[in-house]
């Protein structure tokens, strides 16, 4: 009977590993088995290559990986019911995440609840269970590292999506971290350790969950993408508006010097400086170092992330800006104007048209426009007297 050389044995061992066998016990069994069968085959067939491919196709016509899957299936039989529940939970969780992302963009109600619930199901239920199941399938360090890395990155991505859409802090870090770990570490580890054959056999449920999570991420990112040119043109417009405001202010000063309506002038100056304060606040939130009144395109179209009822801030849950104090001031200011009143409108429409769902740069421009409107109204009023 022929005996295999050490090199041939190593070749077979490499092939078994390459084809996704990750349980050392099973690898030893299969290697010995294939070698025994091969040594017998070599008595009648002198070519190692053809003998090996014949034995391989006889022993595992569907690839080595199938034997490992059959083994884990038998060993984890008691978890089968749980596996089914978890698969259903995974689908529900990722579907909620997807629906939540779409609702968020469309400003439909219930977006936040659906996002947080979906994410919680995935992060607390499905993903940890998948990790514990996948760790049972391998006793190789590389396999364990791969599974843990996959778990960490997918958790970071799901949590990141929620944080991003809810405007909670550190969302960008979580998302980028998760994606980088996934692409740079998980995918190479996955391809290296599992082998090409096995990649084709990823569970349909896993791929469905994966797909929905990816689509949610795309939505999360599309939420706040404005081009640099768009921001640039907005800052240009704001520069023009500021110049216009300065010009109007100079005209107003001349009229004010005649002291025809001091109460109006006082109120007008108050509102204008209050809006200046708002702009300064926004700037300090975007860039604490910035002292000038100008927004820079590098600051990006950000949303303010602080709760303070006194100024225009983003409401975390409703994703809307509240300008209630400014509105009250404008209504009070209108008392001093006999005609050409500032169009404040009713609460909802004014807030909705001016500030709802607007990025920072647009808000900033609108504030300057309000200032111009006020000064203009004052000039009109004073010159008509």
């Amino acid at each position: 009977m022929s005996t295999l050389t050490d090199l041939q044995v190593e070749l077979i061992r490499g092939d078994i590993r390459q084809n996704g066998i990750e349980m050392t016990d099973l690898e030893d069994d299969l290697l010995d088995h294939i070698c025994c069968a091969l040594e017998e085959e070599l008595d009648v067939n002198s070519s190692f290559e053809s003998a090996y491919s014949k034995i391989k196709s006889l022993v595992c016509p569907n690839g080595y990986r199938e034997i490992q899957e059959e083994t884990t299936q038998l060993l984890t039989l008691k978890f089968n019911k749980m596996r089914k529940t978890m698969n259903i939970l995974g689908i529900i969780g990722s579907a909620l995440l997807l629906v939540g992302s779409i609702s968020k963009l469309q400003h439909w109600p219930g977006a936040g609840v659906s996002l947080v619930f979906g994410g919680a199901i995935l992060v607390l239920g499905y993903l940890p269970f998948m990790l514990s199941m996948s760790l049972k399938q391998t006793d190789k360090t590389i396999g364990k590292i791969r599974n843990i890395v996959g778990y960490l990155s997918s958790t970071a991505i799901v949590v990141g999506v929620i944080f991003k859409l809810q405007h909670w802090p550190e969302a960008r870090l979580l998302l980028l971290g998760g994606i980088v770990i996934f692409l740079v570490f998980f995918i190479p580890l996955f391809i290296k350790s599992v082998g090409k054959e096995a990649i084709m056999k990823i569970q349909p449920v896993t791929s469905a969950v994966l797909l929905m999570a990816i689509v949610s991420i795309l939505f999360a990112f599309s939420n706040q993408t404005h081009s640099y040119n768009y921001v640039l043109s907005l800052t240009d417009i704001n520069d023009d508006l500021e110049q216009n405001l300065e010009f109007q202010n100079r005209s107003a000063e001349k009229l004010r010097a005649q002291h025809t309506n001091e109460a109006l002038s006082k109120s007008s100056e108050d509102v204008v400086s209050y809006v200046d304060g708002l702009k300064q606040y926004i700037l300090s939130k975007v860039n604490p170092e910035e002292k000038s009144k100008q927004l820079h395109p590098e600051d990006g179209p950000r949303y303010i992330e602080a709760i303070n009822n006194d100024v225009l801030v983003e409401n975390f849950n409703a994703h809307e800006f509240s300008g209630e104090e400014l509105q009250k001031m404008l209504i009070a200011h209108n008392e001093f104007l006999s005609n050409n009143k500032i169009n404040v409108g009713n609460t909802k429409s004014w807030l909705a048209t001016k500030f709802s769902h607007q990025p920072l740069f647009v808000i900033f421009n609108k504030l300057t426009q309000i200032q111009i409107e006020i000064v203009n109204a004052e000039i009109n009023e004073l010159s008509s007297n």
Binding site: V9, E10, D28, H33, V59
Partner: protein, 117 residues
Amino acid sequence: MYLKPMYSKELLKGTLTTIILRLLATHGKMYGYEITQKVKILSGEKILIKEGSLYPALHKLKDEGLVKTETEMVGNRMRKYYSLTEQGGVSTKEKVDELFQFIDTLKVILNVNPKLT
């Protein structure tokens, strides 16, 4: 060399662990390839155990504590010998008895010779 097995996979499915346990009880320690060859010879090549069923079954038995393994180096590869644990011995007897009873019952059910009725 490799013949098509005579019995269907479904028939073998429920009896595979009993066959393995019984073989180990008679022959002491055996390695995987040896088990397949022994079954092939004993059954007159009517039963061929697929590797895809044998190793999952062996690992399951080991997980349940019915068999244990010891290793031996053959060249530069490892050969794993499977043998019964004490608990495995008890379980083998139960399973073999159960299977014999099952065969007897099957004979009664399937024996529809009209002369006997």
